[in-house]
C-alpha cells in the first residue's frame, strides 16, 4: 500500500469511528439510519472499495448494515463502478430465473398437446423422459433437504419454511448447473450465512427513501434475495468447489475433462503423476498448510502434531469446507468472512487464518495428551476475538506490512515456555512492559473467567479441586519452581479450598500483573475446554 493510500485510509477510518449517535427517533428506525449513514460514509467517495476492504480486515464491517453489498463487491457479483450496478444485478437475477425455469421440471404441469406418450409417462424407461429426470432430481433434492433441516438448528431464522425452500432451490440449481460436483454436504452451511445477511439487511425503508441512489435500491431489492444469494454462493463456490471433491470423484472429473480436451491437450512433463495422485484437493491443501506454513510459523507445534499423529485432515476438512463456520459463533464468523472475502474467491487469507488458529492454542497442544488435543481441535475454543485473529493472520503472511498485533500475548506465551524450563532468571517481568492494552485485555479475561467460573461451579460433576482458582492465582512468585501455570491443574494437590471472592483492590492488583493474567488465561482456557 502506498503512503498516499494509507493517508487516505486513516482519514476515513477516523471519520467512521466517530459514528454519530443515532437520531432521536431511534426506537423504530434505528438500523435504517445506520444503513443510510453507512451508505453515505462508506460508498460515496472515490476509491471506496479499497476502504471497504480495509474495514473488512480491521473488523469495522461488523457494525455495517451494508455488508451484503460489500460481499457482492468483494466476490465480484457487482463491479466497483456504481453506474453498472443495476445492469449487473439484473443480469445475474435473470440468470437465476432462467436456471430455475430450466431445472425445476414438473411433468405434472407439462401439458403440451403433442406429447409422445412413450416418453412422457411416469413409467417410461427412456433416458430423456421428463419423468425420469423428475425422479432423479427428487433424489438430489432429498439429499439437500436432509441437510437443510439440520442447518443451524438453534437459529429460528433457518427453521422458517420459506427460508428452507429458498435454500433448496438455490442448492438444487447449483447442483444441476455443476453436475460434476452436484451437491456435497457442507455447501448448505456456506449458503446459510449469505442468505441470512441478505434477509437481515433488506429493508423496505431503503426502497421508500427517495434521497437514496436508485442503484442502491436495486442492489438491495428484497424481491431478489434468492437470486442474489445464488450469485454470491456461486461466486464463493468458484473458489471452494474443489475442496468438496473426494479423491475418486476428482480423478473421474479430471479424466473426463482430459478426454474431452484430448485433441488440444499437450501433456507437460511429470503431469500425469500429479493428476492421478489419489488424494483429494482438500487433503493436498491441508498437507501444504501443515508442512509449509505451520512448519515455518511454529516448528515446535508442527513436530508436536506430527508426533501425536494428528493429521490436519482430521479437523481441517471441516475448518476449510465450512470456512470456519463451526469454529465461531455466527456474528464472529461473519466478521471472519468479511476478511476472507477481501481477496475475492481466492480466499487468500484462509491458510494463514488456519495456521493462526493452531498457534493460538499451541500451549495446550504442546503439553496435553492426544485425546485432549484432539478434542480441542475438534471443538475449537470460542473465545478468541476475530479481529485479533485476522490481524495475526495478516502479520503471519506479511510481517513487514502488518505489525504483530498483540506482542504481550507473545510475552505470556514466553512465560509459559519459561515455566517449563528451570531457568528462573528468565521469569522476571518488568512492570513497565505492561502497556495499557495488557491491562485492558486482563480485565476482559478476568471478567470472562468469572462467568466461566460461575458456570463451572454449577456443574456438580466438576471436582472442587479443579476450581481452586485462588491456589493458582495467589502463587506469589514462580521462583524457579517450574511446573507453574500450564501444569497447575494436575498438581493442585487435592486442595478443596472453596473460591473466595476477591476484593476490588486485590483484583485490580492481580490483573495488572501479566503473569497473573497468564494464569487466568490458562485457567479460562482449561475451563472452556475441559469443563463446559
Amino acid at each position: 500500500m502506498t503512503e498516499a493510500e494509507e493517508g487516505f485510509l486513516s482519514v476515513t477510518l477516523e471519520d467512521t469511528s466517530t459514528r454519530e449517535p443515532a437520531p432521536v427517533d431511534v426506537d423504530t428506525t434505528d438500523n435504517y439510519h445506520y444503513t443510510r449513514d453507512d451508505w453515505y460514509k462508506l460508498f460515496s467517495q472515490d476509491g471506496y472499495l479499497k476502504v471497504l476492504k480495509q474495514f473488512a480486515l480491521s473488523g469495522e464491517l461488523q457494525r455495517s448494515n451494508l455488508r451484503s453489498i460489500c460481499w457482492k463487491l468483494f466476490l465480484g457479483v457487482i463491479p466497483e463502478d456504481q453506474s453498472q450496478w443495476i445492469e449487473a444485478s439484473n443480469l445475474s437475477r435473470e440468470k437465476y430465473a432462467a436456471l430455475k425455469q430450466k431445472y425445476m421440471i414438473d411433468p405434472h404441469k407439462d401439458v403440451e398437446a403433442s406429447l409422445d406418450l412413450n416418453v412422457h409417462n411416469p413409467l417410461s424407461l427412456e433416458e430423456d423422459s421428463p419423468w425420469n429426470q423428475y425422479f432423479q432430481d427428487g433424489e438430489i433434492k432429498q439429499i439437500i433437504t436432509q441437510d437443510i433441516v439440520r442447518t443451524h438448528p438453534d437459529q429460528m431464522f433457518f427453521r422458517q419454511q420459506d427460508i428452507q425452500n429458498s435454500m433448496l432451490d438455490i442448492l438444487f440449481c447449483y447442483a444441476k448447473e455443476e453436475p460434476d460436483i452436484s451437491y456435497r454436504q457442507g455447501m448448505h452451511e456456506l449458503l446459510a450465512p449469505i442468505l441470512f445477511i441478505l434477509h437481515a439487511e433488506s429493508r423496505d425503508d431503503v426502497q421508500n427513501d427517495d434521497s437514496l441512489s436508485p442503484a442502491l435500491k436495486v442492489v438491495m431489492d428484497p424481491a431478489c434475495i434468492d437470486a442474489d444469494a445464488f450469485a454470491l454462493f456461486s461466486e464463493l463456490m468458484e473458489g471452494m468447489q474443489h475442496f468438496f471433491l473426494s479423491a475418486s470423484l476428482e480423478s473421474d472429473i479430471i479424466r473426463a475433462r482430459q478426454q474431452k480436451n484430448s485433441n488440444r491437450h499437450v501433456r507437460k512433463p511429470f503431469e500425469s503423476d500429479e493428476v492421478y495422485l489419489p488424494t483429494s484437493s482438500i487433503a493436498r491443501k491441508l498437507d501444504k498448510i501443515h508442512d509449509v506454513l505451520l512448519k515455518n510459523a511454529d516448528e515446535q507445534l508442527y513436530y508436536r502434531l506430527r508426533d501425536l499423529g494428528i493429521p490436519p485432515q482430521t479437523y481441517g476438512i471441516r475448518w476449510i469446507r465450512l470456512l470456519f463456520g463451526r469454529e465461531f459463533h455466527l456474528p464472529s464468523m461473519l466478521q471472519l468472512w468479511d476478511a476472507l472475502f477481501v481477496e475475492g474467491n481466492s480466499l487468500g487469507l484462509m491458510d494463514y487464518v488456519f495456521v493462526t488458529m493452531l498457534t493460538l492454542i499451541r500451549d495446550t497442544l504442546l503439553t496435553d495428551d492426544y485425546s485432549t488435543c484432539m478434542q480441542l481441535l475438534m471443538k475449537y475454543p470460542p473465545w478468541f476475538e476475530v479481529s485479533d485473529l485476522v490481524q495475526r493472520a495478516l502479520h503471519l503472511r506479511n510481517p513487514a506490512r502488518y505489525p504483530d498485533p498483540v506482542p504481550h500475548v507473545r510475552e505470556w506465551t514466553q512465560i509459559n515456555e519459561d515455566m517449563h524450563t528451570p531457568s528462573p532468571n528468565q521469569l522476571h517481568i518488568q512492570e513497565d512492559r505492561s502497556p495499557p492494552e495488557v491491562v485492558k485485555m486482563s480485565h476482559k479475561l478476568a471478567n470472562k473467567t468469572k462467568s466461566v467460573f460461575a458456570q463451572a461451579t454449577k456443574q456438580m460433576h466438576i471436582p472442587k479441586k479443579q476450581l481452586s482458582l485462588n491456589t493458582k492465582l495467589s502463587l506469589p512468585k514462580p521462583s524457579g519452581g517450574g511446573g507453574g501455570g500450564g501444569e497447575g491443574k494436575s498438581k493442585s494437590n487435592g486442595s478443596t479450598s472453596a473460591m473466595t471472592p476477591l476484593s476490588a483492590s486485590e483484583e485490580q492488583e492481580m490483573i495488572r500483573n501479566p503473569k497473573v493474567c497468564f494464569y487466568i488465561y490458562q485457567f479460562y482456557r482449561y475451563c472452556t475446554v475441559h469443563l463446559l
Binding site: 489419489p278 499423529g309 495428551d369 492426544y370
Partner: protein, 219 residues
C-alpha cells in the same frame, strides 16, 4: 511426557461409525457417550471424535469413537480411519430403504479398507418410528447373518439397545484382545497416540478364534 490420566484404563479401543447420511450415527454416539439426544443435530463434515470411558467385566475401556460423514464414502481420509478401527458400527435407518440397500456397499468398503478380522456390528436405527418402518427386523437379521455379524435394532431417541450394541462390540474386541489376537494400545503402551498415517500394522491372523464373530446367527 505421559500423564497420570493416561493410565486410568486397561484398554484403548478405537471404533468407527459409518453408514448413509442422516441414519443417526452422531445421535447414537451422543446417546452412548453423553446420554443425550437432540432432534436437530448438525451434520458431520469430514470426521468427528468422541471419547467414552466404559467398564466391561471389571476392565476399564477407553473408547475413541470416530464419527464419519455419510457422504464421505469415497473419501481417502475415511479410509485411513478404517484401517485404525478395531470395531466398526454400520448403521442404517429402518425407515429408509436406500440406507439399507447401501449396507452392502459399506460392507464392501470396510472389506477394502479395514483391517482383516475387524469386528463389525450392524444397527438398524430409529425403531421409535415403527409406523414408518420400511425394513423388517427379519430382513436386517438376515443380512447380518449372511455376513456373520451381530445385528441390533436401536433407537437413539428412546434409548433402546444403544448401550447394548456398543457393549457387544466392545466385548468382541476385548475377547479378541485378551486372546492375543488384536492390537491393543492401552495396555502395552502408555503413550496414547492413535492415528498415524504411515503406520501400517497388519493384524495377526486369528482364524483359530472363530474368525469374525461366531455368535453372528444367535441373535
Amino acid at each position: 511426557m505421559a500423564r497420570a490420566t493416561d493410565k486410568k484404563y486397561d484398554h484403548l479401543f478405537q471404533l468407527l461409525l459409518c453408514g448413509d447420511s442422516s441414519v443417526g450415527k452422531t445421535c447414537l454416539i451422543s446417546r452412548f457417550a453423553d446420554n443425550e439426544f437432540r432432534h436437530t443435530h448438525i451434520n458431520t463434515i469430514g470426521i468427528d471424535f468422541k471419547l467414552k470411558l466404559f467398564t466391561i467385566r471389571d476392565k476399564k475401556i477407553r473408547m475413541q469413537i470416530w464419527d464419519t460423514a455419510g457422504q464421505e464414502r469415497y473419501e481417502t481420509l475415511t479410509a485411513q480411519y478404517y484401517r485404525k478401527a478395531q470395531g466398526i458400527i454400520l448403521v442404517y435407518d429402518i425407515t429408509r430403504e436406500e440406507t439399507f440397500r447401501n449396507v452392502t456397499k459399506w460392507l464392501r468398503n470396510i472389506e477394502d479398507h479395514g483391517v482383516k478380522g475387524v469386528k463389525i456390528i450392524l444397527i438398524g436405527n430409529k425403531v421409535d418410528l415403527e409406523s414408518e418402518r420400511k425394513i423388517s427386523t427379519r430382513h436386517g437379521q438376515k443380512l447380518a447373518n449372511q455376513h456373520n455379524i451381530k445385528f441390533f435394532e436401536t433407537s437413539a431417541w428412546k434409548d433402546i439397545n444403544v448401550t447394548e450394541a456398543f457393549t457387544e462390540l466392545a466385548e468382541q474386541i476385548l475377547a479378541k484382545v485378551e486372546s492375543g489376537g488384536g492390537r491393543d494400545r492401552g495396555s502395552s503402551s502408555i503413550r496414547e497416540s492413535a492415528i498415524k498415517l504411515h503406520e501400517q500394522q497388519p493384524t495377526p491372523a486369528t482364524k483359530s478364534h472363530g474368525g469374525c464373530c461366531s455368535g453372528g446367527s444367535s441373535n
